[in-house]
């Protein structure tokens, strides 16, 4: 109790500023809600769905960071490349379009998910093998700089194969509403996103908490040397982590593709948003990544969708980065994270 008090006192100024900012945001939301209640709820539903997609990408960052303390800059670009590849798989390979029957669409999407997830799991693990593993013992900035280089390479691979045009898939999930109550509505496309994302998160949680390999991952994240002494194959565990992250990027890309169009540089901005989400929730913390992503999704949707005093989409990037900077300055361990020497 005493230590909590001491901590409160020592950081009281930054806490006050932080709380004041949060208070202002809440006040702004309340005013908006009073003015246009249905719109606020709609916007929040949009934010929730987008946040779920960001969450899957953010998990990729947080898994890798948790185990290697490396910001895998290339993750966003792997996401974009897998999305573009997914558009080829769905359109050319499986030939899905909006006249296909429901069973074909659901089955086709599952097949596409399996293909894209497994392929990009391998791609991601290969990147680790070639570019990051040789630098395991170099100073910490070395792999980070390499990751930036890899990010550009992956982006240009996407550019070489898909050029600068936006890619999309046919509207085979209807844009009609699942429900509509007094101006509040929710479309099937958004529900489909949640139907893919939620089971994925459940499986991931099960994998990390209940399997041997998941336990090994957590052990390596806590202490690499000690886990090596306990007989855990560290290299294998790191490879598995990258496989998982790549698979998640692939899944997120398909979900994203169902709603939006993508091109070679989509991954840069989305990757930064997802990374911010991971930091917001506490990087290295899986629940935190999803929580932070939903929060970022909500903030973005409110900024772009609300009418009263909202800065609008021109400023989204600044707002996301403003949040990132403030989190790192005021609470570097994130909302759900624990204090580490790195961030403090």
């Amino acid at each position: 109790m005493a230590s909590v008090l001491v901590r409160l006192r020592s950081s009281s100024i930054s806490n006050t500023i932080g709380l004041a900012l949060v208070g202002l945001v809440v006040l702004w939301l309340i005013v908006n809600f009073v003015k246009t209640p249905a719109e606020v709820i709609n916007v929040c539903l949009i934010g929730l769905t987008n946040g779920a997609i960001y969450g899957v990408v953010a998990l990729g960052y947080t898994l890798v960071y948790g185990i290697l303390q490396l910001i895998n800059f290339a993750h966003g670009d792997v996401f974009a490349l897998s999305g573009l590849f997914a558009s080829t798989v769905i359109i050319s390979l499986l030939g899905l379009d909006k006249d296909s029957s429901v069973i074909v669409i659901v089955g086709g999407l599952l097949v596409a998910l399996v293909i894209v997830m497994s392929l990009f799991a391998l791609v991601n693990a290969t990147i680790e093998r070639i570019a990051y593993r040789p630098l395991r013992h170099a100073p910490r900035v070395a792999p980070l700089i390499t990751a930036i280089g890899v990010s550009f390479i992956v982006q240009n691979v996407a550019l070489a194969f898909y050029d600068v045009n936006y890619r999309t898939v046919p509207q085979f999930i209807p844009r009609t509403n699942v429900f509509e109550i007094g101006g509040v509505s929710y479309t099937w496309t958004k529900l489909a996103a949640l139907l893919i994302v939620v089971p994925l998160l459940v499986v991931l949680t099960w994998f990390v908490t209940s399997t041997r390999q998941g336990k090994a991952m957590r052990a390596v994240a806590q202490d690499t040397e000690a886990s090596a002494m306990m007989g855990i194959d560290v290299n294998r565990t790191i490879s598995v982590t990258f496989l998982l992250a790549g698979a998640l990027a692939g899944a997120a890309a398909i979900v994203y593709l169902l709603q939006f169009n993508m091109r070679y540089d989509t991954g840069f901005e989305l990757g930064l948003i997802a990374f911010t989400a991971a930091v917001l929730g506490g990087i290295g913390n899986l629940t935190g990544a999803v929580f932070g992503a939903v929060l970022i999704g909500l903030i973005q949707a409110c900024n772009e969708g609300l009418t009263w005093l909202a800065p609008g989409s021109d400023w989204t990037r600044s707002i996301v980065f403003g949040i990132l900077i403030m989190i790192l300055v005021f609470r570097p361990e994130g909302l759900l994270g624990e204090r580490t020497p790195e961030g403090a």
């Binding site: 100073p139 070395a142 280089g149 021109d314």
Partner: protein, 400 residues
């Protein structure tokens, strides 16, 4: 190759007559370059690859920024992914103080603009310094809250600022109804450099005049950079780069030293930005995006982090590729019948350079001796305890 390396080592330590002679020769060649460039371009085979004087100006400006970035990344070991913010700050300072942007006022100080012209017109030479100072302030403002963070966190925060500043200038055309940056159109025209009534831009040999000015600015930057490296401050930077914990234990004030690195790096970025804005007569938001920061970082890595001569070499090589080289090579390839346009993939090429350098030769083309040892023998990069935080607290509140 060893011989060359030895010579360069001598240049570094201020060395012998022979290396001095090489330095002078390079300098003379650089100064007469605009006058011999046409002869060089007539040479068979290599002639097509010789950059024009105008391209050289751009190459030198980017090299100057790379030398500035080298102070932050190479000397102090702080990874800065948002250097473009300083470039933008410098360019827009030039836009505010030497153009017709603020048409509400009319202020003229030693500038060639006609008296009574709308906007603020201060002599461009002064604006270069003003831009440096303002950018330094921006650097300190960015640095103070963020330099407590280590390594990759710092990189991300600087990346964030590097994204916010360009978005701010792009959207800054109606801040509460006030047009600060003229939005996506940018600020143009920005005044030319001038001596009295001798206005560089209206002379027929303006590219030459800007070129010589650029060489002069680069020389000043390099001189300051080398003198700083050998100063007490520079040794403190290197100590922090090698081992923050040990440096703090030896009494190096971490925050202050890092902030200086940031501020001085920012200063050169600002001067280079303002100069470039003047040479191309405008500051446009499309010029400031994340890729530029990585491009500059790539120059530093290619040349060798911490090595001034290496960074100049890296800057000139990549600057050349960016301005002319890739396009020239591309046209040669297409003449050969292959449909491949390297300019489209220029950032992929820089990405390959970054990865290849980090994997194969992390100390760069012309390695700096100390940095090479660090990379080869490794440093204690993991803190034993939370020295950053405690160091920062001790500095602010000595009684705690």
């Amino acid at each position: 190759m060893n011989r060359l390396r030895g010579l360069l080592g001598d240049v570094r330590s201020g060395g012998t007559g022979r290396s001095l002679a090489i330095l002078v020769a390079v300098l003379v060649l650089a100064l007469v370059y605009p006058r011999i460039v046409e002869n060089l371009q007539d040479l068979p085979l290599v002639g097509d690859f010789i950059p024009s004087t105008g391209s050289m100006v751009v190459m030198i400006v980017f090299t100057m920024m790379a030398v500035g970035l080298n102070i932050v990344v190479g000397y102090a070991g702080l990874l800065d992914l948002g250097y473009v913010a300083f470039y933008a700050a410098g360019a827009y300072t030039a836009g505010w103080f030497a153009s017709g942007q603020f048409e509400q006022v009319s202020f003229d100080f030693l500038s060639p603009a006609p008296s009574g012209a709308a906007g603020i017109h201060i002599s461009m030479w002064l604006v270069l310094i003003v831009a440096g100072v303002i950018t330094t302030v921006v650097g300190i403002l960015i640095g103070l809250p963020t330099l407590r963070l280590r390594g990759d966190y710092l990189a991300i925060v600087t990346l964030g600022f590097g994204e916010i500043v360009p978005q701010f200038v792009r959207n800054g055309d109606s801040l509460g109804g006030f047009d600060l940056t003229h939005g996506t159109f940018g600020i143009s025209p920005i005044d030319s450099l001038a001596v009295g009534d001798f206005v560089f831009r209206s002379e027929s040999n303006r590219a030459e005049l800007y070129y010589w000015t650029a060489v002069g600015l680069l020389l000043i930057t390099v001189f300051c950079s080398i003198r700083l490296r050998d100063s007490r401050l520079g040794r403190a930077w290197i100590a922090i780069r090698e081992d923050e914990t040990a440096a703090a234990a030896m009494g190096v004030p971490l925050m202050r030293t890092k902030t200086w690195a940031y501020a001085i790096g920012a200063f050169f970025g600002g001067v280079a930005g303002a100069f470039y804005a003047s040479s191309k007569a405008g500051a446009f938001p499309a010029d400031f995006y994340f890729n530029i920061s990585v491009f500059l970082l790539c120059m530093v890595i290619l040349g060798g982090m911490g090595s001034v001569w290496g960074v100049i070499l890296g800057g000139l090589i990549l600057g050349y590729l960016n301005v002319e080289g890739l396009a020239t090579i591309g046209s040669k390839i297409q003449e050969g019948g292959l449909d491949f346009d390297p300019t489209k993939y220029q950032f992929g090429i820089y990405g390959v350079i970054i990865v290849a350098m980090m994997l194969l030769r992390p100390s760069g083309l012309i390695p700096e001796r100390r940095h090479k040892i660090e990379l080869e023998e490794g440093v204690h990069d993991t803190p034993l305890y939370d020295v950053v935080h405690e160091g920062a607290v001790a500095e602010q509140e000595p009684t705690v």
